[in-house]
Amino acid sequence: MNMKNQSEIYRKLTKSFVLMFIVCFWSCQEVIHVDLNSASPKLIIDAGISDQQEPYTVVLSQTVAFDLNNTFPPVTGALVVISDNAGNIDTLIENKPGTYQTTNIQGIPGHTYTITVKSDNTVYTAISTMPFPVPIDTVVSKNRFGTKNKELSVSFNDPKGIDNYYRIIEKITYYLPDPGRIILPTLGTVSTDKLMDGTKITVSPGFNQPELLTGDSVLVSLECIDKNVYTYFRTASQTGNQSTTVSNPVSNITNGALGYFSAYTVRYYKILVN
């Protein structure tokens, strides 16, 4: 098992223990109203290029005030260009408001990609290098610690001699209708091969993944990402409310845009939860 992942698990276990202790004995939760400021809108760049068949899409949107509905205004009319270090350049086409699509560029592992977004006379750029893919070895389902739910353990063989960064996403393709069950998408779990280089790594994605029930069908994707994208997702999952350093995830995009640009490879695994 991966060290970083271990310390993460153990941090969460500590937290869950405190929570259990508190919940069992005294604590209570209630919805309150908090007066929050409305910051001026900020650009979000949600961009990726993978080793799957093109085209790829880039979504540009804006932040909204906290009290508003989750409808995020698209950013239209931007110039979006993706290029690689082999001389390929692709200017993306906006095929619906805020969604931009590539026309010809194909993601190839080992290539370094640059995205340039020009919007409102500001230029934002990000660079990402596509790692080589790693297939999923096995996925097994087991009981989630302390609950009646299920969770998955994902195993894969880490290639020796290179630093690898992984992101695991579980997408529920069919789920058992259960009253009161709400499935919210998650950003997934990230992990590294630090201290575990070249070994078989097993990740229990746990708390960053949806709660599963027996009978669900899940599509697991294992993305190989670069270090900066790993940092983005690692910092995105640090939102503990007792933390004194809560912040936006550390992005690889210049000029203060939110979001990230990831050149990644991906392999899939389907499982029926039992």
């Binding site: 109203h33 400021n37 910092t235």
Partner: protein, 773 residues
Amino acid sequence: MKKTNVIALTLLFFFLLIMNVNSQAQNRCTISGIVKDESNGEKLISATITIKELPGTGATTNSYGFYSITLPQGKYTLTALYTGYEMKEEKVVLKQNVKLNFNLIPKENQLHEVVVTNTRKDENVSGTQMGVQKLSMEEIKNIPVLFGEKDILKTIQLLPGIAPVGEGNSGFYVRGGASDQNLILLDEATVFNASHLLGFFSVFNSDAIKDVTVYKGNEPAEYGGRLSSVVDIKMNDGNDKRFSVSGGIGLIDSRLSVEGPIVKDNGSFSFSARRTYADLFTALSKDTMVKGAKLYFYDLNAKADYKINDNNRIYISGYLGKDVLGITSFGLDWGNSVATFRWNHLFTQKLFSNTSLIYSNYSYNVGINTGNQINIVSNIRDVGIKQDFQYYISPDTKLKAGLNSTYYQFVPGTITTPDSTFNLINKYCWENALYISNELKLTDKLKTEYGLRLTSFSVLGPGSFYTYDSQGNPVDTANYSSGKFIRTYFNLEPRLEFTYLLPGNSSVKGSYDRNVQNIHLITNSTSANPTSLWLPSSLNVKPEIADQVSLGYYRNFENNLYEFSAEVYYKNIQNQIDYKNGAQLNFNQNVESQLLFGKGRAYGIEFFARKNAGKFTGWLSYTLSRAEQKFDQINNGLYYPSTQDRTHDISLVGIYNFSTKWIFSSTWVYYTGNAVTFPSGKYVLDGVVLNYYTERNGYRMPPYHRLDLSATRIIKKTATKESSWTFSLYNAYDRYNAYSISFKPDPQNLQQTQAIQTTLFGIIPSITYNFKF
């Protein structure tokens, strides 16, 4: 500090010293001795000795109950005073040096005393110390706290300038300093983690404690090592007259203490134990996970002392405590162990010496079994020697000097899995301090205490030391062999206080102090996390330095029945530590790359009014303050509120001795919520709604307030036997204070996001039975 300043200060110091020695010309003799409790032989700390024939002249006992006073030959009447005890007079014909011990009798019943005369000296007004708070154990025992468990660290949070970290947390902020800036000493040994059960209780079993003194950054030169405060806790010596057993049975825990003579009047021991039994309740639960849970802590305190002869006395004291948490596949235990051996020696009746050998260890151990057994262990350990001299030159001047040498070993974390072991690099450090200070009465009105403390902190090999670029990537690694000096930081810490007595039992005091901290607790959580890392100064981490100036006005009314004080302070901090956005502090070899270094400032005013005696006693404390910090990388390099910034902090404490059978008490606290980071918007990414943050600590938690009530029914109280029931209500008006606020999708309407407040404790009743025989 500039070199010339240092030289000037040193010269001044010696000039004043020579002046003292010159005043020694007459034929003088010394009276010295120990002040004790007559009923059990406990040595009384800070008892006052006054001389009837020489008003304004006197002495105070040190932390071993020792006093010494040197006077011209003649006839004198000495009076020993201590709060809660009958005063005692002794007549002395002084022709040669005299040994004079006082045995004070505790007041049987404080109720009968309506007019208060001379039971309490006006020490708060006339002493040179400022920014110092003392609480008697009697007061602490009558103040209600969570689950009826008396708690020293919770009670000192009711004093001005000392603010609680939050609900169910024994951590505290002193004058805008973080909770790791408090040096907590138990019989001189550092206690690295003073929290039990993730902060709901402190590690100090109040049955084992004799005395608590808090210095709010104005500590005398013999103390050092933390920026904000020193909490000096002394354990009971034990009863040297007779065997005695006391204890208590509460809802959460039980306590038992045994004490008695080793050699009657010359040696005693004391042993206290405490254990919680929340795990007995979890065993009754139907939920299998709760049922299998382990959840308890225990404490053991032990102390013994023995008088070899009139000039030599030895003490040995120790503490061992542990918390054990465990559920199915996860276990966490942690605890402190400390031990001190001390030797008091009188070279002459004027020269008192104490030598201490000190050991302290804090460790934690995590076990996870998710198929494979994984263990994580970590500890911080120090061993040290401390030598203190107190030279009682004349009633007007007392010289203190000493040295301290401590060796630290840090084991940040060793992880063992079935097939491998991995450990973060251990660290070794050596800290030395040399100090000298002088308490001097310049005129009848003007007193001063000034001192210098020279500290060195050496980072030793073996180990690999990294340096980082601005992005936090390691750029260089240097490997050093064992015992190699890698970096030594020297610091000179001047301490200066003065008191000017004004007419009408009032005074003005001022002080300047510098404190240096070389051991830093790395945590970005406000809850007391037992696995937080202590990090020493290194190539990247510089010593944190605080300079504080303060000024105060003190006045007592109606023969010291009421006391009042107001103190203002301003503190400036260099090399303050904060963390990068998204800092990764757990099990990170490059944890130093996650730190930011900047400046801090804190200022405020503290008001304190107290009624000291009578049927009704209590106090009101109010602090208006600000604590801010500045880092180039955060909030555009502007000053912003520290987490521990508290605008208002009010504590109201009342104890009412209704009759010989009933004592009622209550406390009410109110304080501004912590500065926190809340979102100022939201956005969507990969279908997930995320919070958008614009600045660190730009928001406030809601204000916190709470009323606690307690009633004690005394069943029996004689000189040797006591029993009582205490009923208490924590959070009597059931205020839902915010422990945390989180922002989540609304399950009723996924188009909306809501704020959810978690409250730890509503109203909690409790009952405790206490006994002594």
